[in-house]
Symmetry: C2
Subunit: 132 residues, 2 copies
DNA sequence: CTTGACCTTCCAGCTACTGGAGCCCTTAGA
DNA sequence: TCTAAGGGCTCCAGTAGCTGGAAGGTCAAG
Protein backbone atom coordinates (compact mmCIF):
# COMPACT_ATOMS: atom_id res chain seq x y z
CA UNK A 1 0.00 0.00 0.00
CA UNK A 2 1.46 3.36 -1.08
CA UNK A 3 2.05 6.19 1.32
CA UNK A 4 -0.84 8.22 -0.11
CA UNK A 5 -3.33 5.51 0.77
CA UNK A 6 -1.71 5.05 4.18
CA UNK A 7 -2.14 8.77 4.67
CA UNK A 8 -5.86 8.56 3.83
CA UNK A 9 -6.39 5.56 6.08
CA UNK A 10 -4.65 7.06 9.09
CA UNK A 11 -5.44 10.73 8.72
CA UNK A 12 -1.73 11.51 8.94
CA UNK A 13 -0.02 13.59 6.21
CA UNK A 14 2.48 11.68 4.09
CA UNK A 15 5.20 13.98 5.36
CA UNK A 16 4.41 13.01 8.91
CA UNK A 17 4.40 9.32 8.09
CA UNK A 18 7.86 9.63 6.52
CA UNK A 19 8.98 11.55 9.57
CA UNK A 20 7.74 8.78 11.86
CA UNK A 21 9.83 6.38 9.83
CA UNK A 22 12.88 8.67 10.14
CA UNK A 23 12.62 8.58 13.91
CA UNK A 24 12.05 4.84 13.94
CA UNK A 25 8.38 4.61 14.86
CA UNK A 26 7.39 2.55 11.84
CA UNK A 27 9.33 0.49 9.28
CA UNK A 28 7.37 -0.18 6.11
CA UNK A 29 8.63 -2.60 3.45
CA UNK A 30 9.74 -1.25 0.08
CA UNK A 31 8.57 -2.30 -3.35
CA UNK A 32 10.99 -2.83 -6.24
CA UNK A 33 10.64 0.74 -7.41
CA UNK A 34 11.65 2.06 -3.98
CA UNK A 35 8.16 3.09 -2.91
CA UNK A 36 7.16 2.49 0.70
CA UNK A 37 4.74 -0.39 1.04
CA UNK A 38 2.50 -0.31 4.12
CA UNK A 39 1.01 -3.51 5.51
CA UNK A 40 -2.19 -3.72 7.52
CA UNK A 41 -0.13 -3.87 10.71
CA UNK A 42 1.85 -0.77 9.68
CA UNK A 43 -1.45 1.01 9.26
CA UNK A 44 -2.51 -0.20 12.67
CA UNK A 45 0.69 1.18 14.18
CA UNK A 46 0.20 4.51 12.43
CA UNK A 47 -3.38 4.75 13.66
CA UNK A 48 -2.16 3.98 17.15
CA UNK A 49 0.29 6.85 16.80
CA UNK A 50 -2.36 9.16 15.43
CA UNK A 51 -4.66 8.45 18.37
CA UNK A 52 -1.89 8.75 20.92
CA UNK A 53 -0.68 12.04 19.52
CA UNK A 54 -4.20 13.43 19.40
CA UNK A 55 -4.59 12.52 23.07
CA UNK A 56 -1.65 14.80 23.72
CA UNK A 57 1.12 12.26 24.26
CA UNK A 58 4.56 13.35 23.11
CA UNK A 59 6.26 11.38 20.39
CA UNK A 60 8.49 9.85 23.01
CA UNK A 61 5.55 8.79 25.13
CA UNK A 62 4.02 7.33 21.98
CA UNK A 63 7.16 5.30 21.51
CA UNK A 64 6.81 3.89 25.03
CA UNK A 65 3.11 3.24 24.59
CA UNK A 66 3.75 1.43 21.32
CA UNK A 67 6.30 -0.82 22.94
CA UNK A 68 3.94 -1.54 25.82
CA UNK A 69 1.26 -2.25 23.24
CA UNK A 70 3.49 -4.85 21.59
CA UNK A 71 4.44 -6.33 24.95
CA UNK A 72 1.96 -9.10 25.73
CA UNK A 73 3.40 -9.34 29.25
CA UNK A 74 3.09 -5.66 30.09
CA UNK A 75 1.82 -4.38 33.40
CA UNK A 76 -1.16 -2.13 32.91
CA UNK A 77 0.34 -0.09 35.75
CA UNK A 78 3.09 1.05 33.37
CA UNK A 79 0.58 2.34 30.87
CA UNK A 80 -1.43 4.00 33.59
CA UNK A 81 1.67 5.74 34.90
CA UNK A 82 2.35 7.34 31.53
CA UNK A 83 -1.25 8.44 31.17
CA UNK A 84 -1.35 9.83 34.68
CA UNK A 85 1.83 11.81 34.11
CA UNK A 86 0.21 13.26 30.99
CA UNK A 87 -2.88 14.08 33.00
CA UNK A 88 -0.86 15.92 35.63
CA UNK A 89 0.87 17.87 32.89
CA UNK A 90 -2.44 18.76 31.27
CA UNK A 91 -3.83 19.92 34.60
CA UNK A 92 -0.77 22.06 35.18
CA UNK A 93 -1.15 23.63 31.75
CA UNK A 94 -4.86 24.26 32.23
CA UNK A 95 -4.19 25.93 35.56
CA UNK A 96 -1.50 28.10 34.00
CA UNK A 97 -3.76 29.13 31.14
CA UNK A 98 -6.63 29.86 33.52
CA UNK A 99 -4.33 32.15 35.43
CA UNK A 100 -3.32 33.97 32.26
CA UNK A 101 -6.88 34.13 31.07
CA UNK A 102 -7.93 35.70 34.31
CA UNK A 103 -5.26 38.39 34.23
CA UNK A 104 -5.73 39.18 30.59
CA UNK A 105 -9.49 39.27 30.85
CA UNK A 106 -9.22 41.69 33.74
CA UNK A 107 -6.97 43.97 31.70
CA UNK A 108 -9.07 43.79 28.57
CA UNK A 109 -12.19 44.65 30.51
CA UNK A 110 -10.60 47.81 31.83
CA UNK A 111 -9.39 49.02 28.45
CA UNK A 112 -11.73 51.40 26.68
CA UNK A 113 -10.49 50.27 23.31
CA UNK A 114 -11.01 53.59 21.61
CA UNK A 115 -8.86 56.11 19.69
CA UNK A 116 -7.19 57.47 22.82
CA UNK A 117 -3.74 56.28 23.89
CA UNK A 118 -4.36 55.58 27.57
CA UNK A 119 -4.55 51.87 28.08
CA UNK A 120 -4.34 49.77 31.24
CA UNK A 121 -2.96 46.84 29.25
CA UNK A 122 0.09 48.78 28.13
CA UNK A 123 0.41 50.26 31.59
CA UNK A 124 0.48 46.82 33.09
CA UNK A 125 3.11 45.62 30.65
CA UNK A 126 5.17 48.71 31.39
CA UNK A 127 5.02 47.90 35.08
CA UNK A 128 2.62 50.65 36.13
CA UNK A 129 -0.40 48.53 36.07
CA UNK A 130 -3.54 47.44 37.82
CA UNK A 131 -2.11 44.15 38.97
CA UNK A 132 0.26 44.29 41.88
CA UNK B 1 25.25 48.00 32.92
CA UNK B 2 26.55 44.55 32.00
CA UNK B 3 24.29 41.80 30.75
CA UNK B 4 24.55 39.85 34.00
CA UNK B 5 23.06 42.73 35.95
CA UNK B 6 20.43 43.26 33.27
CA UNK B 7 19.58 39.61 33.64
CA UNK B 8 19.15 39.95 37.39
CA UNK B 9 17.05 43.09 37.07
CA UNK B 10 14.70 41.67 34.47
CA UNK B 11 14.54 38.03 35.44
CA UNK B 12 15.52 37.06 31.91
CA UNK B 13 18.51 34.76 31.29
CA UNK B 14 21.47 36.44 29.58
CA UNK B 15 21.03 34.05 26.67
CA UNK B 16 17.49 35.24 26.18
CA UNK B 17 18.50 38.89 26.35
CA UNK B 18 21.11 38.30 23.63
CA UNK B 19 18.50 36.46 21.63
CA UNK B 20 16.13 39.41 21.92
CA UNK B 21 18.89 41.60 20.56
CA UNK B 22 19.46 39.18 17.67
CA UNK B 23 15.83 39.48 16.63
CA UNK B 24 15.86 43.23 17.03
CA UNK B 25 13.79 43.70 20.17
CA UNK B 26 16.42 45.66 22.03
CA UNK B 27 19.62 47.48 21.02
CA UNK B 28 22.00 48.10 23.91
CA UNK B 29 25.08 50.29 23.53
CA UNK B 30 28.53 48.73 23.67
CA UNK B 31 31.41 49.70 25.89
CA UNK B 32 34.98 49.97 24.56
CA UNK B 33 35.73 46.36 25.40
CA UNK B 34 32.77 45.16 23.34
CA UNK B 35 30.53 44.37 26.30
CA UNK B 36 26.85 45.16 26.00
CA UNK B 37 25.87 48.18 28.07
CA UNK B 38 22.24 48.38 29.15
CA UNK B 39 20.65 51.72 29.97
CA UNK B 40 17.70 52.20 32.30
CA UNK B 41 15.42 52.40 29.29
CA UNK B 42 16.84 49.16 27.88
CA UNK B 43 16.01 47.52 31.21
CA UNK B 44 12.53 48.97 30.99
CA UNK B 45 12.09 47.50 27.53
CA UNK B 46 13.35 44.11 28.69
CA UNK B 47 10.98 44.12 31.64
CA UNK B 48 8.17 45.02 29.28
CA UNK B 49 9.12 42.00 27.20
CA UNK B 50 9.38 39.77 30.22
CA UNK B 51 5.90 40.72 31.37
CA UNK B 52 4.38 40.44 27.92
CA UNK B 53 5.91 37.01 27.34
CA UNK B 54 4.76 35.81 30.74
CA UNK B 55 1.24 36.92 29.84
CA UNK B 56 1.46 34.53 26.93
CA UNK B 57 2.04 36.95 24.08
CA UNK B 58 4.18 35.63 21.24
CA UNK B 59 7.46 37.37 20.48
CA UNK B 60 5.83 38.90 17.46
CA UNK B 61 2.92 40.23 19.48
CA UNK B 62 5.47 41.60 21.95
CA UNK B 63 7.09 43.45 19.09
CA UNK B 64 3.77 45.04 18.19
CA UNK B 65 2.99 45.85 21.81
CA UNK B 66 6.39 47.45 22.24
CA UNK B 67 5.87 49.67 19.24
CA UNK B 68 2.42 50.64 20.48
CA UNK B 69 4.02 51.34 23.82
CA UNK B 70 6.49 53.75 22.22
CA UNK B 71 3.74 55.36 20.16
CA UNK B 72 2.35 58.28 22.16
CA UNK B 73 -0.46 58.62 19.62
CA UNK B 74 -1.60 55.01 19.73
CA UNK B 75 -5.23 53.98 19.84
CA UNK B 76 -5.90 51.86 22.88
CA UNK B 77 -8.20 49.90 20.58
CA UNK B 78 -5.13 48.48 18.82
CA UNK B 79 -3.70 47.20 22.07
CA UNK B 80 -7.03 45.79 23.09
CA UNK B 81 -7.35 43.96 19.79
CA UNK B 82 -4.06 42.17 20.33
CA UNK B 83 -4.98 41.23 23.88
CA UNK B 84 -8.41 40.03 22.83
CA UNK B 85 -6.94 37.85 20.10
CA UNK B 86 -4.65 36.34 22.72
CA UNK B 87 -7.62 35.76 24.98
CA UNK B 88 -9.52 33.94 22.26
CA UNK B 89 -6.49 31.77 21.62
CA UNK B 90 -6.12 31.00 25.31
CA UNK B 91 -9.78 30.05 25.55
CA UNK B 92 -9.43 27.76 22.55
CA UNK B 93 -6.42 26.09 24.12
CA UNK B 94 -8.15 25.67 27.46
CA UNK B 95 -11.14 24.09 25.77
CA UNK B 96 -8.89 21.72 23.87
CA UNK B 97 -7.02 20.71 26.99
CA UNK B 98 -10.25 20.22 28.91
CA UNK B 99 -11.42 17.86 26.20
CA UNK B 100 -8.20 15.88 26.40
CA UNK B 101 -8.27 15.88 30.15
CA UNK B 102 -11.78 14.51 30.15
CA UNK B 103 -10.93 11.65 27.79
CA UNK B 104 -7.71 10.76 29.50
CA UNK B 105 -9.21 10.91 32.95
CA UNK B 106 -11.97 8.59 31.84
CA UNK B 107 -9.42 6.09 30.51
CA UNK B 108 -7.15 6.30 33.56
CA UNK B 109 -10.07 5.71 35.88
CA UNK B 110 -10.93 2.50 34.10
CA UNK B 111 -7.42 1.10 34.16
CA UNK B 112 -6.67 -1.17 37.10
CA UNK B 113 -3.01 -0.22 37.00
CA UNK B 114 -1.75 -3.56 38.24
CA UNK B 115 0.64 -6.27 36.98
CA UNK B 116 -1.81 -7.68 34.44
CA UNK B 117 -1.60 -6.66 30.78
CA UNK B 118 -5.25 -5.82 30.08
CA UNK B 119 -5.63 -2.08 29.88
CA UNK B 120 -8.40 0.10 28.51
CA UNK B 121 -5.92 2.88 27.74
CA UNK B 122 -3.95 0.71 25.34
CA UNK B 123 -7.19 -0.69 23.95
CA UNK B 124 -8.41 2.80 23.22
CA UNK B 125 -5.16 3.76 21.49
CA UNK B 126 -5.32 0.55 19.46
CA UNK B 127 -8.82 1.47 18.31
CA UNK B 128 -10.74 -1.08 20.37
CA UNK B 129 -11.57 1.26 23.14
CA UNK B 130 -14.19 2.60 25.45
CA UNK B 131 -14.64 5.80 23.54
CA UNK B 132 -16.62 5.56 20.36
C1' DC C 1 51.02 36.39 37.54
C1' DT C 2 47.33 33.63 38.06
C1' DT C 3 42.69 32.43 39.01
C1' DG C 4 37.91 32.81 38.46
C1' DA C 5 33.98 35.17 37.14
C1' DC C 6 32.48 37.57 33.75
C1' DC C 7 31.86 38.73 28.79
C1' DT C 8 32.09 37.78 23.52
C1' DT C 9 30.73 35.09 19.06
C1' DC C 10 29.17 31.20 16.66
C1' DC C 11 27.14 26.77 16.01
C1' DA C 12 24.12 23.01 17.24
C1' DG C 13 20.01 21.16 19.26
C1' DC C 14 15.35 20.94 21.16
C1' DT C 15 9.70 19.47 19.35
C1' DA C 16 7.13 17.79 15.75
C1' DC C 17 6.59 18.56 11.92
C1' DT C 18 6.10 21.33 7.11
C1' DG C 19 7.48 23.29 2.59
C1' DG C 20 10.03 23.06 -1.40
C1' DA C 21 13.43 21.70 -4.97
C1' DG C 22 14.79 18.38 -8.14
C1' DC C 23 14.25 14.05 -9.57
C1' DC C 24 12.01 9.24 -10.81
C1' DC C 25 7.84 6.10 -11.82
C1' DT C 26 3.39 4.92 -13.56
C1' DT C 27 -0.63 5.32 -16.15
C1' DA C 28 -4.10 7.31 -19.22
C1' DG C 29 -5.06 9.78 -23.25
C1' DA C 30 -3.97 11.80 -28.06
C1' DT D 1 4.70 6.47 -29.20
C1' DC D 2 4.85 10.70 -26.93
C1' DT D 3 3.26 13.43 -23.25
C1' DA D 4 1.22 15.22 -19.21
C1' DA D 5 -0.63 14.49 -14.66
C1' DG D 6 -0.21 12.74 -10.44
C1' DG D 7 1.92 9.93 -7.66
C1' DG D 8 6.45 8.74 -5.29
C1' DC D 9 11.57 9.54 -3.72
C1' DT D 10 15.54 12.13 -1.04
C1' DC D 11 17.55 15.96 1.03
C1' DC D 12 17.73 20.54 2.87
C1' DA D 13 15.83 24.38 5.27
C1' DG D 14 12.60 26.61 8.23
C1' DT D 15 9.18 27.14 12.07
C1' DA D 16 9.21 29.27 17.88
C1' DG D 17 11.81 30.60 21.42
C1' DC D 18 15.09 29.73 23.34
C1' DT D 19 19.22 26.76 25.52
C1' DG D 20 23.79 24.53 25.82
C1' DG D 21 28.42 24.43 24.76
C1' DA D 22 32.97 25.49 22.74
C1' DA D 23 36.67 28.68 22.20
C1' DG D 24 38.29 32.72 23.35
C1' DG D 25 38.75 37.87 25.37
C1' DT D 26 38.49 40.99 29.79
C1' DC D 27 38.75 42.40 34.40
C1' DA D 28 39.39 42.58 39.47
C1' DA D 29 41.30 40.30 43.47
C1' DG D 30 45.00 38.02 45.79
Amino acid sequence: MNIGIASEKTGLPSKTIRYYEDIGLVRPARTDNGYRDYSASDIHRLKFLQRSRSLGFSVDECRQLLSLYQDRARDSADVKAIAEARLVEIDRKIAELNGLRHLLHHLVEHCHGNDRPDCPIIDELAGEGLVQ
